[in-house]
């Protein structure tokens, strides 16, 4: 421990032990415990106690818990646990009979303080910390603490109950460590007494009729099988699995959610999954016994397993797909459903899930049919038994159930699709068909006449939740391909959503995202060009829709439209058909108008979009109507105006990003007079109140430096590798442009900026520059002239916090000399530590706690 902290500790302990002294706030006690834990982890706790006897004295007031506030009492219990985690320190505390009186009946347990959840939580966390060695296990056995933990599993506080379960797992794991190493196959009857007691308690809970007790037992087992993979856990599962299987015989199955978690944690355990242990049968039985909404997560979990019997995977996939199958079945009965005659839906009904066949259904990945799934699966029997096939009416009985189940299914499939262990072949086409059908049901473009279809329509019409989930899933499905006709249907439904006035802003955002994904995944036509014809056609149809979205009264719609535009221009801005359609539309003009949008987010997105349009040569400056000869303000001027005057940071930051990109790409407006451009931008950016704009200004300066002086020579841009020797006159000449654009004034001033990232960026920039000019300064020797003196004086003023006047013209020689004399590495180190280093130090914490003691008034819980 730091001697300064050691000096302050007795005083702090006295404050904590004094019930009349309120403690500043609970975060202080948390941070104090963090600090003690760090010290204990790094060295001997016994030594810590011996060197700081005040800590032992501090623990004594716990013996009169009624005098202490619950949070201090909880703190002391946790501190005792941290210290007693080391066996010698544990013995030391035991000698003083302190631990039994802290954690036993004589302590807060059973007293008035016990009613506070904080104290119960502190008691559990203290025990959890100290249970690290055999002596602790003996202590637990003798103190009767295990019985208390059992009862705390049902605590009214969720946090206490959860912590109690975790503590039981911890104790069981520790008590099994020694015997398991010697005889892993020992049966539970021969396990240590403590472990037997816990297992007995779990068995009893699993047999209980009350669901909360069953849930507690299942949760404990889940935590255990998730974290402990020792061989004895297999023995335990064999021992307990019959009891778990018994739960499946009850109707309804109790604690279904916890049961699913347990079975999946067991299946994932490397110790257990390789052996049969009856686990696969239990999983199969569970799949068929649970309700669809409960079985979905289990099915997904099974399909995510690395190894699993094929039949079980097929069953799980069928369960996962059954809601979509029901939707397709219900809708194809409807004669009026658009597309019902199309190949997608036909394929969908017959093939969703357990597919046979068709090449059309196989995805782009060309998954080989490996016979993993049954080849023939009669329509309608998916997931149900032959006697009682599940129908839409049964599976999707009410609106709430229908919406919930469909959202869950779509999300599960979205998660599963990118995984390598997804079922093969992946039924792209039927899934596409299902997603499109659901979206049609939601927007009312489907008009089924069957009862079930009509019910589904009524449930889903206008349902934003399902629309969002279906659009997300549809976007993910762009990774594969379906038959051309289905892809056409996808673009058609996306266009419907993008056009519809009923689409909510969140749905529109998802529709834009899904559209982009589908456009990006469209295969390139064999004859060249960037987009296949139907995607091109789609974009042409979409462009007239976009203006409507850019004029939406909702800022989020305008913004999503602009984000979409930026992406499409970035991707297809060079493609002739797209360019032609875009220029023929109102989009560029409207985008320019949005530079003056009242919402700053939209202005920023408009800046990004205009930057992209201009980079692609798609920004045409219209002639002013009043004066045919005069041109309107150029985009560069417009963006500079935003950078200088916009009252909010987002648009100004967006401008800086566009300018930096333009400089990198040698945009025509920039290349015309790069120096002039850089000078103007830096002049404005250096004065900005937003530190991110200033930092981006330095980034632009760095790009300019790199373009002028060359890229860094090593992979680490600022590594101090010897630069290629350059003649002094050439270097001085090379630095002249930076002097002219006032880059050094900005960079040197930024070194002492009140915002750390700006100073860091400047430090990096100057280090780069110093590396580049190293040879020059070596040859020049020390330089001392009036310029150097004035620059050094200015640096001192800035360091002291004075702003002062700009430097004026600088000579390159003076800059190089000052660069060499500055301790940039030292400054970079200091900046890396940040002010947090001092503020969050243990010394600062102790000082703050001591300073606060006694001065707190009535309103210590004051807040914002």
């Amino acid at each position: 421990m730091d001697p300064e902290c050691s000096q302050l500790l007795p005083a702090l302990c006295a404050v904590l032990a004094d019930p009349r002294q309120p403690v500043a706030d609970d975060t202080c006690l948390e941070k104090l415990l963090d600090w003690f834990k760090t010290i204990a982890d790094a060295g001997s706790s016994l030594l810590l106690l011996q060197e700081n006897p005040c800590l032992v004295t501090l623990l004594c007031p716990v013996l009169k818990p009624q005098d202490l506030s619950p949070r201090v009492l909880a703190f002391l219990l946790r501190l005792a646990g941290i210290l007693a985690a080391q066996e010698d320190c544990f013995q030391h505390l035991q000698q003083g009979d302190l631990l039994p009186r802290l954690f036993g009946e004589a302590g807060p347990l059973g007293g008035a303080a016990w009613t506070a959840p904080t104290v119960r939580s502190g008691w559990i966390q203290g025990l959890c910390s100290l249970t690290q060695h055999p002596s602790a296990l003996c202590f637990l056995a003798h103190s009767g603490a295990v019985d208390t933990i059992f009862s705390l599993q049902g605590d009214s506080s969720l946090f206490v109950a959860s912590a109690a379960g975790q503590l039981l797992v911890h104790i069981l794991g520790l008590s099994m460590q020694a015997p398991a190493e010697g005889h892993p196959s020992l049966q539970p009857a021969h396990w240590p007494a403590c472990a037997q007691k816990i297992v007995g308690h779990i068995e009893e809970s699993l047999r209980a009729t009350a669901t909360p007790q069953v849930t507690q037992a299942l949760n404990v087992l889940t935590t255990m099988f998730s974290h402990c993979h020792d061989p004895w856990t297999q023995v335990l599962w064999v021992h307990l699995s019959p009891l778990v299987a018994c739960l499946l015989e009850k109707d309804p199955v109790p604690a279904a959610h916890s049961l699913v978690d347990l079975l999946l944690s067991v299946a994932r355990s490397p110790v257990l999954s390789s052996s049969s242990c009856g686990l696969w049968d239990t999983l199969a039985q569970t799949l068929s016994r649970l309700r669809a909404s409960q079985a979905g997560p289990l099915a997904l979990g099974i399909l995510k397993l690395q190894e699993c019997p094929k039949a079980l995977r097929a069953q799980a996939f069928a369960v996962l797909l059954q809601p979509l199958t029901c939707v397709l079945e219900a809708t194809t009965q409807a004669p009026g459903l658009p597309g019902s005659s199309g190949p997608g839906l036909q394929c969908g009904v017959a093939a969703i899930g357990p597919v046979a066949s068709s090449e059309a259904c196989a995805g782009r990945g060309g998954d080989p049919t490996d016979g993993e799934l049954p080849l023939a699966w009669p329509p309608g029997s998916v997931g149900g038994t032959a006697d009682a096939p599940l129908t839409a009416g049964m599976l999707l009985p009410s609106k709430a159930a229908c919406v919930g189940l469909l959202c869950q299914t779509l999300a599960h499939l979205e998660l599963l699709q990118p995984l390598p262990q997804r079922p093969s072949p992946w039924p792209w086409a039927p899934l596409l068909s299902a997603a499109v059908t659901i979206l049609r049901l939601c927007n009312g473009s489907a008009t089924p006449t069957s009862d079930t279809g009509t019910h589904l329509c009524a449930f889903l019409a206008g349902c934003v939740r399902v629309q969002r989930a279906a659009l997300d899933f549809l976007g993910t499905l762009s990774q594969g391909t379906g038959p051309q006709e289905l892809v056409t249907q996808v673009f058609a439904i996306l266009l419907e959503y993008l056009t519809s006035p009923d689409s909510s802003p969140t749905v529109l955002k998802k529709a834009f995202q899904a559209t982009l994904q589908w456009l990006q995944s469209s295969p390139k036509p064999s004859g060249g060009g960037d987009l296949e014809p139907h995607a091109q056609l789609f974009l042409r149809e979409l462009l007239p829709v976009l203006p409507k979205r850019l004029c939406s009264p909702c800022w989020d719609v305008r913004d999503s439209g602009l984000e979409f535009l930026t992406q499409t221009v970035r991707r297809w801005g060079g493609q002739a058909g797209f360019r032609h359609a875009l220029l023929a539309s109102e989009v560029p003009e409207l985008t320019e108008q949005l530079l003056r949008d009242p919402e700053s987010y939209v202005r920023a997105s408009a800046v990004a979009a205009m930057g992209q349009l201009s980079s692609r040569g798609l920004h045409i400056i219209p002639a002013s109507p009043g004066h045919p000869g005069a041109q309107q303000k150029s985009l560069l001027e417009e963006l500079l105006h935003i950078l200088s005057t916009d009252s909010e940071g987002f648009p100004r930051r967006a401008v800086m990003q566009v300018f930096t990109q333009w400089l990198r790409d040698s945009h025509a407006d920039v290349a015309a007079d790069t120096e002039h451009f850089v000078a103007r931008v830096l002049r404005v950016a250096s004065q900005d109140l937003d530190w991110e704009v200033r930092a981006q200004g330095l980034e632009l300066a760095l790009v300019f430096l790199e373009q002028t002086l060359g890229q860094p020579s090593s992979s680490c841009p600022y590594a101090m590798t010897p630069p290629a020797a350059a003649p002094p006159s050439l270097v001085a000449q090379a630095l002249q442009p930076f002097c002219r654009v006032q880059l050094f004034d900005f960079a040197f001033r930024a070194l002492f900026d009140c915002d750390r990232p700006v100073a860091q960026k400047s430090c990096d920039l100057l280090l780069f520059l110093r590396a580049k000019t190293a040879s020059y300064s070596d040859q020049q020797g020390s330089s001392s002239g009036p310029d150097v003196a004035s620059l050094e004086a200015a640096l001192q003023r800035w360091q002291a916090g004075d702003q002062g006047q700009p430097l004026g013209d600088l000579e390159p020689e003076a800059v190089v000399a000052v660069l060499r004399s500055l301790d940039l590495e030292g400054l970079r180190g200091a900046l890396a530590e940040s002010s947090d280093h001092a503020e969050q130090s243990p010394l600062s914490l102790l000082q703050d706690m001591l300073a606060t003691a006694g001065i707190l008034g009535e309103n210590e819980a004051d807040c914002y």
Partner: protein, 564 residues
């Protein structure tokens, strides 16, 4: 008895990181999603693992409701929606929706600036999170789905703060968020109708306190600032960009005007413009006095408060500077503090709470030698003052709200356990929460007779069942104008005149020739008897009563000659 389960994931028996999970009638609602400013690690956010263990967040939660824009109530929102993965709807009032991203952005910038945190939510995440927000109006019943509905009530505290009623079938919960039962300089007092929820979840920050009048604190504040400025000192007031800052600006502006003071007042964040814009935009959320005087004098257009430039800190002579952040832990406020700390004539006034570790916390606890970066020691000689302007209901206010809402049960959160215990007893004593059959009660409702049955239901419910729209009350007035021109030209003249006078309002000239100013509709018609006179029909809703009266009196004075 309905089962309503409440799980505080934060701010159960403490302050900070407000996040309460309510399960009611099979629906799960998260109330607030705040952060704790006192931690820099995972502990700053609520432990969402208690929700994620129930499956996908978006499937489990039906909605999230944010009560107001303070970070301890909304600071974890982008993390929750964009990093943990909640994709469902988020409800908040219109002002909260407008202001919340500013504070989140402010906080993000400070966190990245100060600690260089990389694994933190980005600007893009804040924006994407805000796109999931559904804004609600006060007293508007919002149908989240077929069964779940929510309704917002005015909470005072800060601009846009609301209490929310959550209702599923006949079961309901009211969550107060933070509220204030006494009006302050710019906001009104919280109000709720006698909704008799099954459960009222109320904050209890000042559970055992009867607070002195805010007027006293304001007087004290002005006196201290005045004294410091009079002796030639500089006054630093660290604030967060929006909220307290505007309240104190109004105070100083009025005082400067009254006392004819000349010392400059600066606001350093560059956000005043935006803040003022929002206060103007949401003027209906401020108190009656501000609304009343708004047309004559906009309280948020400051004559004496100017934008701060970094170079001004070195200027000689007295000045007052509002600078961010509010806890003196980074950026501009810390830089100015370091510059001014050594002069005993200067003063720093901390108007809010500071977390441990910050310079603000240290100076408030009386430390006068501070270790800064590079082991430099800063000696603080300037005067340090703490003035709490936080606007929470005190014990009396909490009791008053319980009396207004008449809940069956009360749950105290956002406070200290010990104080809650005391207040619990007081509430039990005074209200005896079990309904007393003999106690007379006032009922508001609509009696519906249908199929030989009588039912007393709320007015909203009755309207809903009968498929009727609420009747809107409008005031109308006729103003006679001497104008021989055609009606359309008169309307155009009215439009031009109002456009030039009411610069802060949305004045529109509609294609049908009528003119609108907010909800006020003006139409010009010919006089039946006198062709040289036009009749202006002015109509407005009761919400815009003040503006409507003002417009009428303005039009009665006639149109200027130049108005065309």
């Amino acid at each position: 008895m309905p089962e309503i389960r409440v799980t505080p994931l934060g701010a159960g028996q403490d302050v900070g990181r407000s996040c309460i999970l309510v399960s009611i009638g099979g629906k799960n609602v998260m109330l607030d999603c705040g952060m704790h400013m006192g931690f820099n690690d995972d502990r700053r956010f609520p432990d969402f693992s208690y929700i994620t263990r129930n499956g996908r967040l978006t499937d489990f939660l039906d909605c999230v409701i944010i009560s107001h824009f303070h970070l301890d109530h909304c600071g974890a929102l982008p993390y929750f929606s964009e990093m943990v993965g909640y994709d469902g709807p988020i409800y908040m009032t219109h002002p909260t929706q407008a202001i919340c991203p500013i504070l989140l952005e402010d906080y993000r910038k400070i966190a990245v600036d100060k600690k260089g945190e990389a694994n933190f939510f980005t600007s893009q995440m804040i924006k994407d999170c805000m796109k999931k927000v559904v804004a609600v109006h006060l007293h508007q019943t919002v149908q989240v789905d077929d069964e779940l509905e929510i309704k917002a009530y005015y909470a005072g505290h800060v601009l846009g703060a609301a209490m929310f009623q959550i209702k599923v079938g006949s079961e309901s919960v009211v969550y107060t968020g933070d509220y204030n039962m006494t009006p302050d300089r710019h906001l009104g007092a919280a109000w709720i109708d006698k909704c008799r929820p099954n459960l009222l979840i109320t904050e209890s920050t000042y559970a055992t306190t009867i607070r002195d009048s805010k007027r006293c604190r304001e007087r004290d504040f002005l006196k201290k600032v005045h004294e410091a400025v009079e002796r030639g000192g500089k006054v630093l007031i660290p604030v967060f960009a929006l909220g307290r800052a505007q309240e104190l600006c109004i105070l100083l502006e009025t005082f400067w005007e009254r006392m004819n003071l000349k010392a400059p007042i600066y606001f350093s964040t560059g956000l005043t413009e935006k803040a003022n814009h929002y206060y103007k935009l949401f003027i209906t959320w401020t108190n009656q006095k501000i609304r009343k005087t708004f047309v004559q004098r906009n309280m948020f257009e400051f004559k004496h408060i100017k934008a701060f430039d970094r170079a001004f800190a070195d200027n000689p002579g007295p000045m007052v500077v509002f600078a961010t952040p509010g806890m003196l832990h980074a950026g501009q406020s810390l830089q100015i503090f370091r510059k001014w700390a050594g002069n005993e004539k200067n003063m720093v006034i901390m108007p809010g709470y500071c977390v441990q570790g910050t310079v603000g916390h240290k100076i408030l606890s009386g430390q006068r030698k501070l270790e800064m970066e590079g082991r430099q020691v800063l000696e603080v000689k300037m005067q340090v003052e703490y003035m709490s302007f936080s606007a929470h209901a005190d014990a009396k206010g909490i009791m008053q709200l319980v009396g207004q809402a008449e809940p069956e049960n009360v749950l105290l959160v956002h406070g200290e356990a010990k104080k809650m215990e005391f207040l619990k007893q007081k509430i039990e004593q005074e209200f005896r929460l079990l309904p007393d059959a003999k106690k007379p009660r006032l009922l508001h409702g609509t009696l519906i007779m249908k199929d030989s049955n009588f039912r007393l239901v709320s007015s909203e419910q009755a309207l809903k069942e009968l498929g009727l729209a609420e009747h809107q009350l409008r005031f109308t007035c006729r103003v006679h104008l001497h104008d021989p021109r055609k009606e359309q030209e008169t309307a155009l003249r009215v439009y031009s005149h109002l456009k030039s006078v009411l610069k802060d309002h949305c004045v529109q000239h509609l294609p049908d020739g009528s003119v609108t100013v907010e909800s006020i509709l003006i139409q010009a018609a010919a006089h039946s008897e006198d062709p040289g006179t036009k009749v202006l029909l002015v109509s407005w809703t009761y919400q815009d009563e003040e503006l409507g009266s003002y417009l009428t009196s303005l039009l009665k004075k006639g149109l200027p000659q130049g108005a065309t």
